[in-house]
Amino acid sequence: MTYLADIAALARKDLLLELRSRDTVPAMVLFVVSALVVFNFSLPADSGDLAAYGLLWVAIVFTALLGLTRAFVAEREQRVLDGLVLTPADRSTIWIGKGIAVLAFLLLAEVVALPAFALFFEPVDATLVAAVLLADVGLAAVGTLLAAMAAASRARELLLPLLFLPLVIPIVVGGVGASVDDDPARYLGFLVLYDLIFAILSWASFEYVVTE
């Protein structure tokens, strides 16, 4: 199946690039840990334990934003995106390949962030990990599409947060709900729904975002 082979090739390219240049993932890791430290000071002394979970989700969203801002930089600077669009591959493979890479970076950042969170603030349980995984898929799916849009504009890094944040509010709701509520199943189900809807929509519309 050449569709899968195309995706594998594109994802491999991004992961290899990151492995060799090592710029995005260390930045994301440092950012998320710094953010957690800042949160220690931004939470007033007597706020509930649960407030920390909310801040974790804010940290995750902004770390994702950081990774996404860099996502299409190489493609734009070296005009690779035009080349990719010209290949006979289906354009959605670009989205999936890039999305896999973004997801991988985010997961790597969280491998550090979640233990740090457990150390600094509250314990991390399986539900939280499940919620984070589901949210990551949604963040990567929607974010990759929006990053491609932002890459085509003049404003670039300025535009991506504006486009990204309103769209990911439901993810934050789902994630925080799953972290603090007694009945996390509803929120996890909602995250699955969000992922499905927006992944399908992004997959179908990516072609239009990168072509004329």
Binding site: A152, L159, I169, P170, L193, F198, L201, S205, Y208, V209
Partner: protein, 206 residues
């Protein structure tokens, strides 16, 4: 439109402040209708690649945002008079609207920071579609996040349902708002088309 305004004094039972309902809800529904129209136009653009849909979609979003501002303002006024606060986070429909408002405001940032052309048209269309999908998803999200103060006039509490005269007033106002939106939309669209034509002519002269 004038009719809509003059009908309002028709049903003052709940007290004067309730009348803003006749303006606020139609404005909100009209804003949603504008966003829906914009998404439909966006879909048509992607489907047919005819560029005129782009301008129509953009104008519809513009209308939607204007009515959105009105919704938020009238909603705040109503909140202030009914509940004593200008804003309440625990309040489902306000929050949903705020999210959508932010989303569509970013639409303008997207348009203004991209070179005009088919690429921008495509991206705007995709974005408008995402907005419409965001409406039910956000609604679900906010419902999960709770909050139940917004007066649900139509479905829940049967006793609270509108009396016939009020329903009539509401329908007239709603129709009036839609008519207003449609006329503003047509007006703006004509204006924009004229601008485009003028630009074309100027370029032809050079």
């Amino acid at each position: 439109m004038a009719l809509a305004f003059y009908w309002v004094p028709d049903a003052p039972e709940e007290g004067f402040r309730q009348r803003i309902f006749y303006i606020h809800v139609p404005v909100a529904l009209t804003a949603y209708a504008c966003f829906g129209w914009a998404a439909w136009k966006g879909l048509r653009l992607l489907w047919t690649r005819e560029q005129h849909h782009d301008l129509e979609s953009y104008t519809a979003v513009h209308m939607g945002v204007i009515f959105g501002i009105l919704t938020l303002v009238t909603g705040s006024i109503w909140a202030r008079t009914s509940w004593g606060v200008w804003w309440s986070w625990g309040e489902r429909q306000l929050v949903l609207f705020l999210i959508l408002f932010l989303f569509y405001s970013a639409y303008f940032m997207l348009r203004y920071s991209t070179e005009p052309g088919p690429r921008r048209a495509n991206m705007s269309a995709v974005y408008a579609l995402f907005g419409v999908v965001l409406i039910p998803v956000s609604f679900l999200a906010i419902r999960l996040a709770e909050g139940l103060i917004h007066p649900v006039v139509f479905d829940r509490d049967v006793g609270e349902n509108l009396a016939t005269s009020q329903l009539l007033t509401f329908i007239v106002c709603f129709a009036g708002m839609l008519a207003l939106a449609a006329s503003l939309y047509t007006n703006e669209l004509t204006g924009k088309r004229l601008d485009a034509r003028l630009r074309e002519l100027r370029e032809a002269l050079e």
